[in-house]
Symmetry: C2
Subunit: 353 residues, 2 copies
C-alpha cells in the first residue's frame, strides 16, 4: 500500500514515537531483573520499526469518525494494537517456521543465531523457539498495558475493553482455524474465506474501528456502519495479500517470491483454482503447493494454473465488488474520517501486479 | 502440599466454579467462529481442573490481610491468575517438550495426537506446537479479561492493573532467564537463585499478595510486609519443589521420577552440589544431568552425589531459614489472613521425602 493516506495527521510518526517511548519506559523493568534481558527488548524494537500501522490507523479513524477530536491519548491507545500484532507475527513465524519478517531474520531465527554464536549448550532451534514464544507473550501483555496507560478516561477504557477482548479471542481463533486449514489440506472456498474473515477482516479492520468508536462512546449504529465497511474491505484486503503472495514483487512484499506457495498456504485463490481446475491443472497444484524446495519453474507453472483456471480473474473481480461494497457504507461517518477511510479502502486493495 | 489450608473459606471450590462458568461464557464466542474450535476450550478446561490454586489463594489472602471482606468479586479477580498460570504451563511445556502435565498429556502432545488420529497433512508435532502456542495466548488474553469482569469497582481494578502488569513482565522475564540458564549450562548458585526469585518468589507469592492488597487499596506498608513474607517464602517453596523434583514421590509430584534430572534442570540444589563436588562427583553430575535416557541407576547415582556433597542438607537448611524469615514478617497482617498465611508458609515448604 502506498503510504500517504496512512500518514494522514502524521499518524505513522506518532505511532512510532509512542512505541519508542513505551519500550524505553519498559527497559528499566527488564534491566532490574537482569542485564541478560537486553536482546528481548532490542529484538522487539527492531520488529516494531517500520510496518504499515494499519490497525492503529483504523482504530484512530474509528475514533475520529465518531466526531471525536484528535489527541495524543487516542494515538497511544491505538498504538497498543501494534504490540498485539507483534505477538501475532512472532508466534506466527514460529508456527510457520518462517525465516524472515519485514526483510529481517524472524525472531526465533534471531535467537537461534544468538545461541549459536554464543556457543551455548543444547539446540539453537529450541532456544530460538522458546525465546520467541516468551517475547510474543511479553508483547501480548504489553499491548493491554499500553492501552490502559494511554491516558484516556477510565470509563472510556472500560467501555472499550470488551471490544479489545473480543478482538484478541477472534485473532487466536482465526489463527487456529488457519493452522487447521493447512493441516486438512484446505480445498473449500467457504472455509478459506472464513479464515480470511477472522484473521484479516475482523482483526485488521472491523475490530480496530469498533475499538476507536467504543473509546469515543459512539452509538451502536456507527459500530454497524463500521462492520458494513470493515468486513468486505478486510476480505478484499486479504485477497489482495494472497494475490501479492503469489504474483507480488518481493521488494514490496518483503518476502521471497513464491514463499506462500512453498509454505502451502491454502488461500481463497488456491481454493478457487482447485475448484475450476482440470485434472491436469489440479495435479500441478497438488505436486508443487507446499514443496519447500519449489523452483522458479514450479512457481511459474503454478502461476499459469492460477491464471488459466480463471482463479486470478475471479479473485480480482471479488476484490472490486467487496471494495465497492465497503465504500458504499461510509456515508454516516464524520469527516474527515469518511474521506480517509475511503482512501484507505482504495489504497489497501489496489492492483499492484 | 496438603490441601486443607488452601481450602480455607472454600476457596478451591469457588475458584473452580468461577473457571467453569467463565469458560462456559466464552464457549459461545468460539462456537460463533467455528464448530472446529471445540478442542481449544475442552483442552483448557481439562488443564484447569485440579491444581493447587496457589496464586489465587495468595491474591485472596492478600486482600483479606488488608482487612477487606470476603466476597465473590475478589475470588473472581484472583481466579484470573489461574488463566495466566495456564498460559505459563502450556508454553513452558512446549519449550521443555514435556510429555505430561498434571498426570495428563501436555497440551502440545494432545494436539499432536488429534492431528495424528485425524490423519491430517504435515507434521503432527508442528501442529501440536502451533495449537499450544495459540491456546496459551488465549489463556493469557482471557486472564486479564476475567480480571476486568470480576465486578470489582473500576478504581480498584485500575489501581491494581500496574501490579498485574509487572507480574506478567516478571514472569516472562523469569522464564527467559530460566531458558538462558539451561542454555549456558548453569553453574552459579547466584544465577540459579535469581531465576527462582523471579519465576517463583515474585510470580507465585509476592505479586499475587500485592495484587490483592492493591485491589483492597492497602497502604504501601502492607505491600512491603507482603514482600518480606513472600520473597523468602517463594524461594523456600521453589527449593522444596526442586528437592521434590529429584527425591519426590511421582504420585504426588505428577511427574515421572527423575524427570527434572532428565530435563537437565539447573536448580540451586544442582548448583550447590557442583560447587561442593569432588572431581569424581562432578563427573557423575555432568555425565547424567540432561540425559533424556537416564536410567534408574543413573538417578540413584545422582541422588547419592546430591546427598554426599551435602547439597541436600544445605538446601533443607536454607528452606528452614527462609520459612522462618517469612513467618517472622506477618505481624502487621489482619486476622484471619495472618493465621492462614502462616499455615500456607508451613504447608508449602514442609519436608515430604
Amino acid at each position: 500500500m502506498t503510504g500517504s493516506v496512512l500518514d494522514a495527521e502524521g499518524l505513522r510518526d506518532r505511532v512510532q514515537k509512542r512505541l519508542d517511548s513505551f519500550l524505553e519506559s519498559q527497559a528499566p523493568l527488564l534491566d532490574d531483573v537482569s542485564d541478560d534481558l537486553g536482546p528481548l527488548i532490542d529484538t522487539l524494537r527492531g520488529l516494531l520499526t517500520g510496518g504499515k500501522r494499519l490497525r492503529p490507523a483504523f482504530c484512530y479513524w474509528g475514533w475520529r469518525g465518531a466526531a471525536a477530536d484528535d489527541g495524543d491519548a487516542i494515538v497511544d491507545a491505538a498504538t497498543a494494537l501494534e504490540l498485539l500484532q507483534a505477538c501475532a507475527l512472532i508466534h506466527d513465524d514460529v508456527m510457520d517456521d518462517s525465516d524472515t519478517r519485514r526483510g529481517q531474520p524472524s525472531v526465533h531465527h534471531r535467537f537461534a543465531g544468538l545461541h549459536r554464536s554464543s556457543q551455548w549448550f543444547g539446540s539453537p532451534e529450541s532456544f530460538g523457539t522458546g525465546a520467541a514464544i516468551l517475547l510474543g507473550d511479553l508483547a501480548l501483555s504489553w499491548s493491554d498495558e499500553l492501552f490502559f496507560r494511554s491516558g484516556l478516561p477510565a470509563d472510556a477504557l472500560l467501555r472499550a475493553k470488551p471490544v479489545y477482548d473480543l478482538m484478541r479471542t477472534e485473532l487466536m481463533a482465526g489463527q487456529y482455524l488457519d493452522l487447521l486449514e493447512q493441516a486438512r489440506g484446505g480445498g473449500s472456498v467457504e472455509r478459506a474465506l472464513r479464515v480470511t474473515r477472522f484473521k484479516a477482516a475482523k482483526y485488521t479492520i472491523e475490530r480496530p474501528l469498533h475499538l476507536g468508536a467504543a473509546l469515543a462512546g459512539a452509538p451502536e449504529t456507527l459500530l454497524r456502519t463500521y462492520s458494513a465497511y470493515g468486513l468486505p474491505l478486510g476480505e478484499a484486503f486479504q485477497l489482495r495479500d494472497d494475490v501479492l503472495g503469489v504474483f507480488g514483487d518481493p521488494t514490496e512484499t518483503g518476502k521471497p517470491a513464491g514463499d506462500d506457495l512453498r509454505e502451502g498456504k491454502r488461500t481463497v485463490l488456491i481454493a478457487v483454482a482447485l475448484q475450476q481446475a482440470t485434472p491436469a491443472q489440479a495435479a500441478v497444484v497438488l505436486r508443487h503447493l507446499g514443496d519447500p524446495h519449489l523452483s522458479q519453474r514450479g512457481i511459474d507453472d503454478l502461476r499459469a494454473v492460477l491464471v488459466d483456471t480463471g482463479a486470478l480473474g475471479h479473485v480480482e473481480a471479488l476484490i472490486s465488488t467487496l471494495t465497492d461494497q465497503a465504500l458504499a457504507s461510509l456515508s454516516p461517518v464524520a469527516d474527515p474520517a469518511r474521506e480517509v477511510l475511503a482512501q484507505l479502502a482504495v489504497a489497501a486493495t489496489a492492483r499492484r501486479v
